[in-house]
């Protein structure tokens, strides 16, 4: 079970990116790595879908980007949440919890 990798359900990538950026700015690779680490490598982000999602969130104004230096002194593009993004994160988190609770109830009782 521990080695099973699950592809992200449709629509959850935005939520995971926003949540990962909540503590502070991260660059794209770090976001991907962080999600895999926290999920103990159960969740696998298709790396090719990460960057379009980041750019889409930036376009919506939920995150902003600026260039900086990474830990190994490489130039990297850092993303951070905007105020709008924080509100969106709260809303999406709440909706996700409601959804999982409802699905869980159905699975347990049906």
């Amino acid at each position: 079970m521990a080695n099973v990798t699950i592809d992200l359900p449709q629509g959850t990538l935005d939520l995971l990116i926003l949540k990962t950026l909540a503590p502070g700015p991260q660059h794209g690779w770090a976001v991907s790595d962080r999600i895999e680490q926290v999920s103990r490598e159960v969740l696998s982000i298709k790396q090719g879908s990460l960057y379009p999602a980041l750019h889409r969130l930036e376009r919506r104004g939920w995150i902003r980007a600026q260039w900086g230096a990474s830990k190994n002194n490489r130039r990297a593009k850092y993303y951070e949440l905007t105020n709008t993004g924080r509100k969106q994160l709260e809303a999406e988190e709440s909706a996700w919890r409601q959804l999982t609770t409802a699905v869980g109830q159905v699975l347990e009782t049906a």
Binding site: G28, Y51, P52, H55, G61, N72, R74, K77
Partner: protein, 310 residues
């Protein structure tokens, strides 16, 4: 919404910089991933190969990123135009013949629809209305006919088929000389499409105004021109003439209203010019007139009210 728009504008304006940023961002990602794999024990070459493999098709990812910028449509259109221009340069004769064929086709279509429209209009019951359409948002009864012995404001109408709207100021004699030929005035609700002013330099008040209105019943546009109204009182007479010309297709109707030097008369009688953004319209052109777009009928501001705030 604003973020979205600004982002798209930024992409269009700084396209090369955005592309360069994207390249560098993806390259940095691959380098980070390769370093991680090297730390896990792979050789640098193997780590780099594995990182690229895991990442997938780089060009496809770039394309997905460009798609997420929201300017795909503009990109595609620009590409189509460029391709078209390249083709036109390669085969100029073919391009010229194609353009001419298209132009002729458009012309033929236009002429055909014009002919069909004229036939339909002839068959339509609205082709020649029994009474002219009065361009006013109106809830008051029709004004009384002109009475020679009465100095009160009156109304008169003359119909001038196949004649463009005249802006000549009617004399009092012309107003009162043919009352028997004048049909009654019909008031209708109309929607103002555009409004325009024509300022007379040095004049204290509005000299002329015009509206493009849409008649809700016939669903047709009419051009309404008001000339010679709100001009300064003349010394020789206390009466002022208000000429309103409605131009609908080939037929023009000219209403001549007698006003008694009262600039508020048109408003009192239900003539309510729909004027919005009058200040902006005026400021755009000091003398030549300007367009003021309106979107609703019903509530309106009279021209005199608007002008008083200028």
């Amino acid at each position: 919404m604003i973020h979205d728009l600004l982002f798209r504008v930024r992409v269009l304006v700084r396209r090369h910089a955005m592309e360069a940023d994207l390249d560098e961002e993806l390259r940095a990602h691959l380098e980070h991933q390769a370093e991680k794999l090297i730390r896990s024990g792979l050789s640098p070459e193997e780590a780099e190969r594995r990182a690229r493999f895991d990442f997938g098709d780089l060009d496809q990812v770039k394309d997905e990123c460009r798609r997420s910028w929201g300017v795909r449509l503009i990109d595609d259109m620009a590409a189509e135009v460029r391709a078209g221009l390249r083709q036109a340069r390669r085969k100029p004769v073919f391009a010229t013949v194609s353009a001419l064929a298209l132009a002729l086709g458009l012309l033929a279509n236009t002429m055909m629809f014009d002919g069909v429209t004229s036939v339909v209009e002839q068959l339509s019951p609205h082709q020649q209305p029994a009474s002219p359409v009065l361009a006013a948002q109106n809830s008051v009864p029709s004004p009384p006919p002109v009475n020679k012995s009465d100095a009160r404001p009156g109304a008169a109408v003359r119909k001038a088929p196949n004649k463009k709207p005249s802006r000549a100021r009617p004399s009092r004699r012309s107003i009162e000389s043919h009352p028997e030929r004048l049909p009654s005035v019909a008031y209708k609700n109309v929607t103002v499409v555009t409004a325009a002013f024509f300022l007379t330099p040095g004049a204290a008040r509005l000299s002329a105004a015009g509206w493009m209105v849409r008649d809700a019943e016939s669903n047709r546009n009419h051009f309404v021109l008001i000339s010679g109204t709100w001009s300064r009182a003349r010394h020789e007479t206390a009466l002022e003439a208000l000429e309103i010309t409605i131009h609908s297709g080939d037929v023009s109707y000219t209403f001549v209203e007698v006003i008694s030097g009262n600039p508020e008369y048109p408003q009192q009688e239900g003539w309510r010019p729909l004027v919005h953004n009058a200040r902006a319209a005026m400021s755009n052109s000091a003398q030549g007139g300007a367009l003021a777009r309106t979107e609703q009928s019903g509530q309106c501001t009279s021209a005199s009210e608007s002008l008083s705030h200028l």
